[in-house]
């Protein structure tokens, strides 16, 4: 059985929701890449290259988001930091970008699923569902940010990305 050593974590320290969303999204993109490569079709190499770019993008955003989150938490804990609003806004930006990249991953996975055959189709569909989950996590983090109101542009965008991701996931599941 594979176990994680107790002094190591999947998410690093500190573990944050944004980092978890980014890693889930990156896993979905990696699964999409594997599915795109599994069958010889015209757009396969291009889809795999896009998936590779999305893996890189989400891992970078996970790092950026973790740093921004840590700064915002420090500012919230401290005495009236004049940069608080700015730091909170910055902390909302990374999850929004993760949400967008996860929605793109779900769209890409759905395209791959539509061109794949069993059992690869199942992997592409699973990647789309995982990506949609990552988009939902990231959208949630945007919505609960103290700098983001319900009708804020970022909250609306995040909800839109999440909807796009779930629609793509449903498309991918139907593709089989």
């Amino acid at each position: 059985m594979t176990t994680l050593p107790t002094d190591q974590t999947l998410l690093g320290d500190p573990a944050t929701g944004g980092r978890a969303a980014a890693i889930a999204g990156a896993m979905a993109a990696e699964l999409t890449r594997a599915a795109a490569r599994a069958r010889d079709w015209e757009d396969g190499p291009g889809a795999a290259a896009q998936a590779t770019a999305l893996v890189r993008r989400m891992l970078e955003l996970g790092e950026i988001g973790r740093d921004a989150h840590a700064e915002a938490v420090r500012a919230l804990a401290g005495a009236a930091d004049p940069r608080l609003a700015e730091l909170l806004a910055a902390a909302a930006e990374a999850p929004l970008l993760i949400c967008s990249a996860a929605a793109d991953t779900a769209l890409l996975a759905a395209t791959v699923a539509e061109h794949a055959e069993a059992p690869v189709w199942a992997d592409a569909a699973a990647a789309a569902v995982l990506a949609a989950g990552a988009a939902a996590m990231a959208a949630h983090l945007v919505s609960i940010n103290l700098a983001v109101g319900e009708d804020d542009r970022r909250a609306l965008l995040a909800r839109d990305y999440e909807r796009t991701a779930w629609e793509a996931a449903a498309r991918a599941r139907r593709a089989g």
Binding site: D43, G46, A47, Q50, A53, S100, A101, Y161
Partner: protein, 188 residues
Amino acid sequence: MMALEAVSTLDDAALVERCRSGDGQAWRELVSRYSRYVYAICIQAFRLPREEAEDTFQDVFARAYERLDGLRDGSALRPWLAQLTRRTCIDHLRAAARGGAPAEMPDAGEVDRNLMRIDEAVAVHQAMDELSGDCREILDRFFCRDESYREISDVLGIPAGTIASRISRCLSKLRDAYLGRSEPREPS
């Protein structure tokens, strides 16, 4: 009288010929075409500090101007310039070491690997130039600017659901253009 063909459209062999005949405009095009390449070798392969890289860069093109007649095959301009830049960087590092400045000669294997990466990057750039403007833009937006399908869709007026397929088709064209020009060539 010299042909009035725009120098920017000339291939390397024709450009070298025009330079040899004393065409100043052709020389400026040669420098412009390869300035980033030479600079990248100085900075990335030999890790010269910026100021020293700028001096070396000037030396490389001064030597290239003097020695262009010695280049037998003008189509081998790029590897010839790479070798000239390599020698100039080494001369520069040796001179710095003789003068007592802290200069570390990079590992030859590492230089080769970095040169290969730089060559690949240049080949990809040149292959990009052969693509349509639409393809160049869509690839640049997705891979270089990290824009989302939605952003690309909004800017280019293309349905978001078709962006992934378009990127794949453009990448396929890029691969064809790249493979068409990536055959290795030795400096003459």
